[in-house]
Symmetry: C2
Subunit: 582 residues, 2 copies
């Protein structure tokens, strides 16, 4: 069953939900019931109060009762008057009918079994293929009519729906698992970050533990670039409007931007919503020759984008976004080699993160209407060929998407799966023929003439905050040793072994291993704490270890090392850290 | 001659300048002529145009001609009418006289030789001690009457004045030297940073070269903290007004702050002018026990403070200020040990920078009127004693400054001299009894009760941008090897030796040494470029080097190493880098 069919099936199930509601609550007024990702919903105005979670079972059973009575879908076009008459007393459907009529569009009624609904269509033809165990009513939410808080509040009943019972169960498992791994919950438990009411929503503050993870991540990202000819740059977080007028963001991006006003100077600025315009200014402050190209700038910089408070959540929906941002300035003929290097960095990074399995790439190309795009046919042809050649040469699992390119150039977007199979769009590589024009960038070619460079935007993790949110859930907070805030817990059985514990502590700390050592609570409690804190290794120190000058080490996946010397353990963990072993 | 006398002498010289102007330009209207740092000035309204630099010699000679005729200073109080009559026709002095009278203050006229001026006093008694060679008219500038651009433009003539001819000459040498080392000039020549018109004044962008220096500096600073129990944290660049209402900054600091408005959310924020309130929120998200204390946060974070465009300059007067900021939360009894550690870090850092000679420390203590200060007598006594004890125990060259403490606690400010003897206030250590109160911070003591911690604010370099400005001038752009953007220039005499050059290049790059290699221009030109770029080492590669598989290395201070092996040179430079040799 293809994607389209899945959506049609979900849409038909929304009608089925509508039918069940109507049978159980004859006075309820149905409004709109579309298919959505993972299922469907129907927004309803219940008379005399709403329904509650307990009622969902009743409604779901009614859906299963009705389903076998439905076979096919029929529809007919009706006049505005007929439609208004049919939905008399339902002010919501009345409003919709009037609007359809005003737009001069046909008004259609869809019939399944006894149930008739105002609908534009998009259903599966044979309703009998729907497995009654492949859907489930999930939850209830409030929703304003047409999303406007000035309108009446409706009851939204959400259903999950998949192609099979197995798919539904897999999704439910995934959601359960996701709840356990929720990075907002783990972020609090593991003291990784916090959101402060006084600072504001979407503006996470990183605790020391979270900052260790973040710093390791940022340093690893930089280490992947430094040997590839990238240079670090630094740019401030604000700029004058003039910069965004030149870049073109002022016209299109204003709603997402924060404006800034000087208290003394009264001057107006903007918080940067992206780094590219700043980087263009650094390039423009040079007059490079063809011998200097490509020029590669890297800056893990925080940009700010506004969102409504209600849409912000943990690290994945934030206002402060630290991009592992890079901009390359190259000659058109250099696009291929440069992007090959970037693809290599992306593959290495996601292999290290254990997310390389099942990834795929969307290759966004220009559409047929070339007038929508900026840049010459020649440079588009060069860039699209370069990207396609790379996809083939590197054997990337890619899907070409015609008409999906940005107006300024073609791009590659990388989708990666986390440990529970959820897909995340993370890395991106974008060609840009627009900004070099707008900033009038040039380099001097072999003939001593000015030539226009191509800009390549690229991000490996995308945003450090969002990637950390994904990564916390991917690892369920049990980070690989190199990322773990504390790598080893040293747990002397009692004060008697504190000296040997101290020897172990000093040796590990000298080797730059992040440790914790405590003796103040019962051993059992300390072991539990170390496990709750997801510390990769616990070293319990007692009589046996002290007398033999060795260690007993417990690790993840029931690992137990007995009688290992301090030096051997340090060598083992140091190798794991160096290799960034999963 | 003490500082006070120097200032009085400068003030008297301002009168002497006024007298000379009056003799040469009888129609000129004198306005105000105070003593300033390094000398004095007089603002004058010249009739029929201004004077130019060439006229300064004439005026200066006239000053020297008048000086021997002045012996003592006399003054008398006069009535408003007498004063107005005396300065009839001078609307500036008239305005001043009316204001003094309105304030009910005495109007005094000061007489030296034939010259009488409206003046509040503050002169040396015996004018004959002034060495006629200890002062010099320096430059002319425009200045609005009383600094208000709506008022008439006056001509400001600046004079330099010191206690002796030698001091004047030393100052002039220092200024000449400073001009050569000007970090704005070197920043451009060495491609360290740039100011972009589109981005805005006071918002430097760091080029790759500047970023190498900056990153080395930041990493060195962090390396000094990491083994002392500091943890990195990360906080966003904005916060809601509520944070600054709690911290108290909202009441006092508003003019310096940038306000921020969300495009979509319409919410109001501020760019952070300091990191402390954010760090308080991280601490407050824990409930620490006495066993966790002290808690030490470090964040090299960029804060934003507004200034008028005209006051901004290079890296030393900026709007984007990256503080190497740290906040300690400790028990009062821990203040001494913690500050001792910080003093150690400061000494180590400035020794590495070659700025330790001639430093001194201002110990700012509470004044007699204890009602001006926040915090109990007991905690003040503990903190002031701790700071004083440290000054004595560490043998710091300190000057106690009573009544100079902030209202929230005593502090130590460190003054360091650069290579040409200019003094800069850089590091600071401040005790704070206020913010823990305002944020209601606590830790649990041995009795299970909440206790209030003391906060210590500390910065080692102060601001990375300002310190880099100072450091560029201190080193005159010739950074020590560990900081140098490019450490070695490899210069094959010709294409014939490119292979051996490549071998050297690969060996140095493998050792993480920052190199440049070029063969495209004449050797002479390439050597000159390497010296202009202040690259510490140049390796010229020719027949002799290739055949003997050795290097000829030229370095600073006429260093020449002949016949050194690649390995030995790498070992030598690697040691210099590791030891951060000056």
């Amino acid at each position: 069953m293809n994607t389209n069919n899945t959506e049609h099936q979900r849409h038909s199930l929304a009608h089925l939900l509508g039918a069940a509601i109507t049978q159980i609550y004859p006075d309820a007024k149905l409004t709109l019931g579309p298919a959505v990702e993972d299922g469907f919903y129907y927004d309803t105005k219940f008379s005399g109060g709403s329904v509650n979670e307990a009622d969902l079972i009743t409604i779901e059973n009614k859906m299963r009762e009705i389903l076998p009575t439905w076979k096919t879908v029929t529809h007919k076009e009706v006049s505005k008057e007929e439609a208004l008459d049919f939905f008399k007393g339902n002010e919501f459907k009345t409003e919709l009918i009037n609007e359809i009529a005003d737009r001069g569009e046909p008004i259609t009624l869809y019939t399944m079994g006894d149930f008739v609904d105002l609908c534009r269509g998009g259903h599966i033809e044979d309703l009998s293929v729907i497995d009654p165990d492949s859907f489930k009513l999930d939850r209830i939410a409030g929703a304003y009519w047409r999303g406007d808080e000035k309108n009446p509040m409706l009851t939204r009943i959400y259903g999950l729906a998949f192609n099979s019972k197995a798919d539904l169960e897999h999704y439910q498992w995934q959601m359960e698992e996701a709840k356990k791994r929720d990075h907002r919950k783990l972020g609090k438990e593991l003291k990784l970050f916090t959101i402060s009411d006084l600072v504001g929503s979407g503006l996470p503050l990183f605790h020391p533990n979270g900052m260790i993870v973040r710093k390791e991540l940022e340093e690893y990202l930089w280490s992947l670039h430094v040997k590839k000819g990238y240079s670090r740059v630094w740019t401030p977080h604000v700029a004058k409007e003039a910069l965004y007028e030149t870049s073109g963001h002022a016209g299109h991006y204003m709603d997402d931007m924060f404006s800034v006003f000087g208290g003394t100077s009264k001057e107006k600025f903007y918080l940067k919503p992206m780094n590219c315009p700043h980087h263009m200014q650094i390039f423009a402050d040079n007059q490079f020759s063809y011998r200097d190209m490509p020029v590669r700038y890297f800056e893990p910089a925080t940009v700010y984008r506004d969102e409504k408070t209600g849409q912000l959540s943990g690290l994945t929906r934030v206002r402060a976004i630290t991009q592992d941002d890079g901009h390359l300035f190259c000659r058109p003929a250099q696009i291929g080699e440069e992007i090959t290097t970037i693809v290599g960095i992306i593959k290495e990074f996601y292999t290290t993160m254990g997310m390389i399995d099942g990834y795929w790439v969307r290759l966004s190309l220009r559409g047929d209407d070339t007038s929508k795009y900026l840049g010459s046919d020649e440079v588009w042809a060069t860039a699209e060929k370069a990207l396609t050649d790379i996809c083939i040469a590197q054997n990337l699992p890619y899907i070409p998407a015609k008409d999906e390119a940005a107006f300024y150039g073609p791009k590659l977007d990388f989708m990666f799966k986390d440990a529970i199979g959820r897909e995340w769009q993370l890395a991106t590589i974008q060609c840009d023929f627009n900004l070099p024009e707008r900033f009038d960038l040039s380099y001097i070619n072999e003939q001593g003439e000015k030539e226009r460079p191509v800009v390549i935007h690229r991000a490996i993790s995308g945003s450090i905050e969002r990637f950390m949110g994904v990564m916390i859930e991917h690892f369920s907070g049990a980070f690989p040793v190199w990322l773990a805030p504390v790598q080893v817990a040293i747990l002397p059985v009692g004060e008697k072994f504190a000296d040997y514990g101290e020897k172990v502590r000093a040796a590990l700390q000298d080797a730059n291993i992040r440790i914790t050592m405590s003796t103040t609570e019962s051993l059992g409690k300390r072991i539990r704490t170390a496990k709750t804190e997801k510390i990769p290794y616990q070293i319990v120190i007692g009589e046996k270890e002290q007398s033999s000058d060795t260690l007993t080490v417990e690790g993840r996946n029931d690992l137990k090392l007995e009688g290992i010397s301090i030096e051997d353990f340090i060598a083992r963990i140091a190798t794991e850290i160096k290799d960034r072993t999963l």
